[in-house]
């Protein structure tokens, strides 16, 4: 099946975003002793960022499905 180039480009962008979100510089930023509703910030960041990534991927892929 044919997919347009923009589709692939978006996915690559999401991939790069993920690499950024889950590696050194950004992780270091969130690595502080702060609690949100008692939950450590890093923990929340991880899962929220993860969920966002998944949601973005789903949005790109599902919208383009034939």
């Amino acid at each position: 099946m044919q997919r347009s180039g923009i589709h692939g480009q978006r996915l690559i962008a999401i991939f790069l975003l993920g690499c950024l979100l889950f590696n050194y510089p950004l992780l270091y930023l969130f690595n502080i002793d702060y609690h949100v509703f008692g939950i450590p910030l890093l923990y929340i960041y991880m899962f929220v960022a993860w969920a966002v990534l998944i949601a973005l991927t789903a949005a790109v892929v599902e919208r383009k499905s034939d």
Binding site: L11, F37, G38, T57
Partner: protein, 925 residues
């Protein structure tokens, strides 16, 4: 309640349930109403990635390195986003080439190489069998723990349990049976195992639910939610380090390398390849999988840290292995049902992995190790046995049992060894070695077989040295010295600090060096070797797979074999009925009425190979087909076609060469013609200027004297007469000159009118002599004549001959001394008449002898003596004589006179074009 029997029965019931689901799935598939042709099932089945290592091990890992358990789930999330490029292509390639395993993929890509297939299989087996053992160990441990309910104790060591009483052994056997039943129903391994996939998907659901159950329990029942849980955790300072990156937990480098390795593992773990590629029903399922699978991973990981923290809080440090928290927490809180659920969850995690890995590994072993060996040893006696399909199925089933038992054996032997418990990540790095060869092979046509062999071998060796062997050493199986001091005590070769690279954890270190050598060797060797024809064909098939979905093989040099032989051959491996059906379908597709009408062309051979590859792997399929097809000589017309094309190309290029050479020659000719024209141009200028000069000179005199006469009416009559005489003489001279120029021009251009008749030379000579007698008398010159009788007549123009004679005689008269003598004569000479005119004047020097025949040239000192003639006489004579086929020349010695001679042939030949005709033509006249 939760007695031993209950547990055992529950476990076997659970496995029975798996059998039932698988059976149902297969039945539906056979009836054509597949239950797994659905993207959710596909996405769920991918979750086989989460094994007991996830179920139990995540918590264990979190207990020591905090958030460091997470990277191996983030990696797949990231990689899956790229699957649109990578996985889709892999699926398409695999479908087109009937690829059934990773080893098959690699072997097929690099020219259907059996060596590569075997190498990949060995790497997979060495890397994965311990991983299978780990699952069995988890099962055994969880059995051991739960059987002690409600007491909590560490699991018994394996050595204590005899084989027959070991529940794990029976589980292993059951798993082997399950795999055999639902994994080898069809001979063609490229067909899907629908029932099996359904069972795996079911297991994914079970383990997710079980984990969430215990997680929810730990968070919401034991505490009041996440906030409460973590708030309580702050009371334990040693737990703080688990919640961030500080201190003893993971560092950023390890984090990144684990993410990287798991990105590769999600594709190249044999079980992942099996599910994602081989078992894929519809490539559109990828769409859902790309986000559903990460969502699953997220869901199963949310509760890991809470469980860890809860467990660490509940069980004081050290007593209970954190790996078991998921089980021991419910036990500790008297939750039998939850405990059972968790246990079953752990069982599904382990069994799912074992089933799928076993199928993947056994396919590899059968196709890439067993088949090539059998073919090579000729044990199969291909020519004798009629039906080999049963044998192949038998081999495959044997391989399944073998792999499971091997895993069990390793588990029993290794016990608590480091070499077992740490195997998870070590396995990941092992399968990561496939990445360069596969990914490179999919996108780079220049990758060669030798490059892949070198890359894989290098990566495998470095992996073994930096990760596997140290784990053996840490288990006490190898001397620890080689880890501490390096091989042969060379510190540079320390397996954990290779070449002095310090500061990295074991896994990162191993990843770096193995990838370094793998990729380096792969690229380096590929660049210096050239792919063979088979490799190039396969490279095109693989790299271009995305573009051509209806790809047709191009003509390649193949041997020809009869269709019947091919069908027979394939049937021996595949089963006669299956083969017959497949070929008939193929024939219909190609537009033939039946398989009998097919022609044994390259496409058919490829189809046969591909069909066979589903059963015995690409490498072996190629060997088998080749063995039958080899006896036939190469089709002569096929060779002729190829030669014809080649020779056409050669002929065409020769023509081009020819044309360009001709062009060169033409250019040279044109250039020389141009040069000649330019020379003639110069000559023309010369001629024009000379003529102009010659004309001007007498005109100047005429004009000058006329003016004098005009301006001086009172001039003396004697003077007047003198001047008038000069004027007349000069006018005559001018007229003569003009006439001669015109004459010469006419002759040279070939426009002169010649009147040929038969001439008597004697007569002409005599007439000429009488005409010039006056001149002779004036200078008192004696004339001698030698005129023989009986001269033949010549054909010439009389007037022109007269002209020549007069000219020669008057010249002679001019240059003769006073009282000199002139001799004339006619003689016969070899078919010519020769006429001589000799004088005894001052003679002509050798240089001047040629000079005088040129236009406007006169001998004599032009400074002191005024020119006596026009300088055109002799050139004109020469032209005339030439015209009648004769020659005119002079012989002379200075001081002893000159003799002019010319010849005329008896039968005057027609005029030969004088050399300067072209020039004269330009001036017309």
């Amino acid at each position: 309640m939760l007695t031993g029997y209950v547990i055992v029965i529950a476990s076997f019931l659970y496995v029975g349930l798996l059998f039932a689901i698988a059976y149902y799935g297969d039945k539906r598939a056979d009836a054509g109403r597949s239950i797994i042709a659905n993207p959710y099932i596909y996405a769920l089945s991918l979750a086989v990635y989460c094994t007991s290592w996830t179920f139990y091990g995540s918590v264990g890992r979190a207990a020591t390195s905090g958030i460091g358990f997470l990277p191996i789930y983030l990696g797949p999330t990231l990689m899956v986003v790229l699957w649109w490029y990578v996985m889709l292509k892999m699926i398409r390639i695999s479908k087109a080439n009937r690829i059934t395993s990773i080893a098959d993929f690699i072997a097929s890509r690099y020219g259907k190489s059996q060596l590569l297939g075997g190498l990949a299989t060995i790497i997979a087996v060495v890397g994965i069998v311990p991983y299978i053992s780990l699952q069995l160990k988890a099962v055994s441990n969880s059995f051991s723990i739960i059987l002690k309910y409600p007491a909590i104790a560490a699991p018994d060591s394996q050595a204590a349990i005899p084989l027959v009483a070991d529940n794990t052994f029976y589980i292993a056997l059951l798993l082997a049976a399950f795999t055999i039943l639902f994994g080898t129903r069809h001979l063609d391994a490229s067909e899907r195992h629908e029932g099996l996939v359904a069972a795996i998907a079911f297991e994914s659901v079970v383990k997710l639910l079980a984990f969430i159950a215990v997680g929810a329990f730990a968070t919401f029942v034991l505490h009041d939610g996440f906030g409460d849980l973590f708030a309580r955790a702050t009371e334990y300072p040693q737990l703080q380090k688990l919640l961030d990156f500080s201190g003893s937990s993971i560092n950023y480098t390890s984090w990144a390398s684990l993410t990287f390795v798991s990105m590769l593992a999600i594709m190249f773990l044999p079980r992942q390849f099996q599910i994602a590629v081989v078992e894929n029903v519809d490539e559109r399922h990828l769409n859902k999988a790309v986000w559903l699978f990460p969502l699953y991973l997220l869901a199963i990981n949310i509760f890991v840290l809470p469980i860890t923290v809860a467990g660490l809080m509940h069980f004081p440090a050290g007593n209970i292995d954190a790996d078991t928290f998921v089980l021991t927490l419910p036990i500790a809180h008297q939750q039998p049902l939850l405990t059972l659920v968790v246990f079953i969850g752990g069982l599904s995690a382990a069994t799912g992995m074992v089933i799928v890995e076993t199928i993947a590994l056994s396919t590899m072993v059968c196709n890439n190790l067993a088949m090539p060996l059998l073919l090579r040893l000729n044990v199969l006696h291909l020519h004798e046995r009629a039906d080999l399909s049963a044998l192949i199925v038998g081999i495959r089933r044997g391989a399944i049992v073998g792999v499971v038992l091997l895993g069990y054996a390793y588990f029993r032997l290794a016990g608590e060894a480091y070499a077992l418990v740490s195997i998870g990540l070590i396995s990941f790095v092992a399968v990561a070695q496939f990445a360069p060869a596969i990914l490179g092979g999919m996108f780079w046509k220049g990758a060669t077989r030798r490059g892949a062999i070198c890359g894989l071998s290098a990566g495998f060796l470095v992996w073994g040295y930096t990760l596997l062997l140290p784990s053996f050493a840490k288990s006490g199986w190898l001397p620890l010295a080689f880890v501490d001091h390096g091989l042969f005590d060379i510190a540079f070769l320390k397996p954990l600090e290779l070449f002095g690279l310090r500061g990295l954890d074991d896994i990162t270190h191993g990843v770096f060096w193995s990838m370094f050598f793998n990729i380096g060797a792969y690229i380096g060797v590929s660049l210096v070797t050239t792919p063979s024809l088979a490799e190039q064909i396969q490279a095109n098939l693989f790299v271009d797979a995305q573009r051509d979905s209806g790809f047709r093989r191009s003509e390649s040099l193949r041997d020809s074999a009869s269709v019947a032989e091919l069908i027979n051959l394939v049937g021996r491996f595949f089963g006669q009925r299956h083969t017959h059906d497949a070929f008939e379908a193929y024939a219909l597709q190609r537009g033939a009425k039946s398989a009998r009408e097919l022609s044994a062309d390259a496409d058919l051979i490829h189809f046969a190979e591909t069909l066979l590859a589903g059963a015995i792997g690409a490498g072996s399929a190629r060997v088998v087909v080749a063995s039958v097809v080899q006896e036939e000589p190469l089709g002569i017309d096929k060779v002729m076609n190829i030669l014809d094309e080649a020779s056409q190309v050669i002929a065409y290029s020769r023509q081009l060469e020819q044309k360009s050479r001709e062009l060169e020659i033409a250019t040279t000719e044109l250039r020389s013609a141009n040069q000649r024209l330019q020379e003639l141009d110069l000559l023309k200028d010369d001629f024009v200027s000379t003529v102009t000069h010659e004309l001007r000179t007498p005109l100047t005199s005429i004009r000058a004297f006329s003016e004098i006469l005009h301006d001086n009416p009172a001039l003396e009559p004697a003077q007047r007469e003198k001047f008038l005489g000069i004027i007349i003489k000069e006018s005559e001279r001018l007229t003569r000159l003009i006439n001669q120029v015109l004459d010469l021009a006419k002759i040279e251009s070939g426009n002169a009118e010649w009147q040929s008749g038969e001439i008597d030379m004697r007569e002409v000579l005599e007439d000429a002599l009488s005409a010039t007698s006056q001149m002779f008398k004036e200078k008192n010159i004696a004339v001698e004549m030698q005129l023989p009788e009986d001269l033949p007549l010549v054909v010439a123009d009389r007037d022109r001959l007269m002209q020549v004679m007069l000219n020669l005689l008057s010249n002679a008269a001019k240059f003769c001394r006073e009282n000199g003598r002139i001799k004339t004569g006619i003689a016969r000479e070899r078919g010519n008449l020769r006429i001589d005119v000799a004088d005894d004047g001052i003679g002509i020097s050798v240089e001047d002898q040629n000079f005088i025949f040129e236009k406007f040239r006169q001998v004599g000192d032009t400074l002191t003596k005024k020119p006596q003639g026009t300088g055109l006489g002799l050139p004109i004579c020469r032209q005339i004589i030439h015209h009648f086929g004769g020659r005119l020349w002079v012989v002379s010695t200075p001081g002893q006179g000159a003799m002019f001679s010319f010849t005329l042939p008896f039968d005057g030949r027609p005029a030969v074009a004088p050399p300067e005709a072209g020039l004269a033509q330009r001036y017309g006249t």
